[in-house]
Amino acid sequence: MSSQRENIIQRAVKEVEDGTIVNLGIGMPTMIANYIPADKDIFLHSENGLLGIGPYPEEEDVDADLINAGKETVTVKQGGSFFDNAESFAMIRGGHIDLAILGGMEVSGQGDLANWMIPGKMVKGMGGAMDIVQGAKKVVIIMTHTNKEGESKIRTECALPLTGEKVVSRLITDMAVFDFTPSGMVLKEVLNGADVKTVEQYTEASFTIDEALIDREGKQ
């Protein structure tokens, strides 16, 4: 894993609070599970119908009937439960999931999220992402701050088709943490040696800087 991704995951795992129900998206978010401290009592929800994802199985315990939403073989934690997909999304839509951490392609200054299609490329489908961003109590997006061309993925307006409008609670990148509030996007933390100036340089969307961060970093 690149250190950039590792850094994002390390920061993202701090979002996971003891005693909560958490849904982790496919890909990088799924890897967060491996970093959750053992003393935290977390139930991971998998939208294909499982509450209480356990670790990957030992070779001899692999069970084709027991997979996560990424179609990986998993196990079930003690006290977990299985249910159908309507029930699973009743949990999501009904606000019973405390936290969802998903990947992103673009996030706008208003907290819009685009993470499911790129026009002109084959559309694979949105899976459960549109439901999750509407339903989870808190939606945290993790993504690299810039694309391969070094352009900001945090845009004034998303150019890509949206997954949801004003749905992001918090955005964690390799450089920064932003919160989305009724008065706009707020820079909360700078990460991994970046400073506010660098963050400003690589962020297309405008944002304000959290008071506590100004106190720590000094006004730039």
């Binding site: 084709a64 299985f82 999304f89 839509r93 694979k124 992402a129 997954t163 409008e165």
Partner: protein, 231 residues
């Protein structure tokens, strides 16, 4: 009245060309392997298939794609299948992408006699285009309509002759929803048990949703992404 049948071939022959078919399963987990294979052999054409995914190239619903039996696919994610991509790009295959929770709820609504419902899922996205919008309880929502199937294919773990079914672990997924939303539901099970053996407190699909019940043998249960503990 027993619903037990012995021939998958005869059961799937009840599905007409042009039918709308709801199929259980998530990825390759909990798919009705045997009925899909029988339907591929039968060659029933112009199907509209409603299922969360569309199998892989050589397994599950991919078999029907390969035979060009599917005209339209309603799914939430179809990324695992090359043939799908080809047929879609050259216009042979119509695709309706539906958010997974909306898909599950539309199928549930089809079985439950709820013609339509409002959901916030998809508001502000391409999914909402052309759909009726309404603010309910301060929340912007869109109207989604129920999906019913002329037939449904489902896979359960155990079943009895009346058609009561139970599912195993995450192989449950869309199967109970499909069973209820199909006007003619064909259920395949790994094990047929005596009537009375299933505890009435713990039946996932009550008998009245099932029309035909068949026992499948030698299930392949392919795994898409085998992941194990790192030593």
């Amino acid at each position: 009245m027993t619903k037990v049948q012995t021939s998958f071939e005869e059961s799937v022959a009840r599905i007409q060309d042009g039918a709308t078919l709801i199929v259980g399963g998530f990825g390759l987990c909990g798919i009705p392997e045997k009925a899909i294979q029988a339907l591929a052999e039968k060659g029933t054409k112009n199907l509209t298939v409603v299922s969360n995914n569309c199998g892989v190239n050589d397994w599950g619903l991919g078999l029907l794609l390969e035979n060009k039996q599917i005209n339209k696919m309603v799914a939430s994610y179809v990324g695992e299948n090359k043939i799908f991509e080809e047929q879609y790009l050259n216009g042979e295959l119509e695709v309706e992408l539906v958010p997974q929770g909306t898909l599950a709820e539309r199928i549930r609504a089809g079985g439950a006699g709820i013609p339509g419902f409002y959901t916030p899922t998809g508001v502000g996205t391409p999914i909402a285009e052309g759909k009726e919008h309404k603010v309910i309880g301060g929340r912007q929502c869109i109207l989604e309509e129920a999906i019913q199937g002329d037939a449904a294919l489902v896979k359960a773990w155990k079943g009895d002759a009346y058609g009561n079914l139970i599912y195993r672990k995450t192989a449950r997924n869309f199967n109970p929803l499909a069973a209820a939303a199909g006007k003619f539901t064909i259920a395949e099970v790994e094990e047929l048990v005596d009537v009375g053996e299933l505890d009435p407190d713990f039946i996932h699909t009550p008998s009245l949703y099932v029309q035909h019940l068949l026992v499948g043998t030698s299930y392949e249960k392919r795994i898409e992404r085998k992941t194990v503990q790192q030593a």
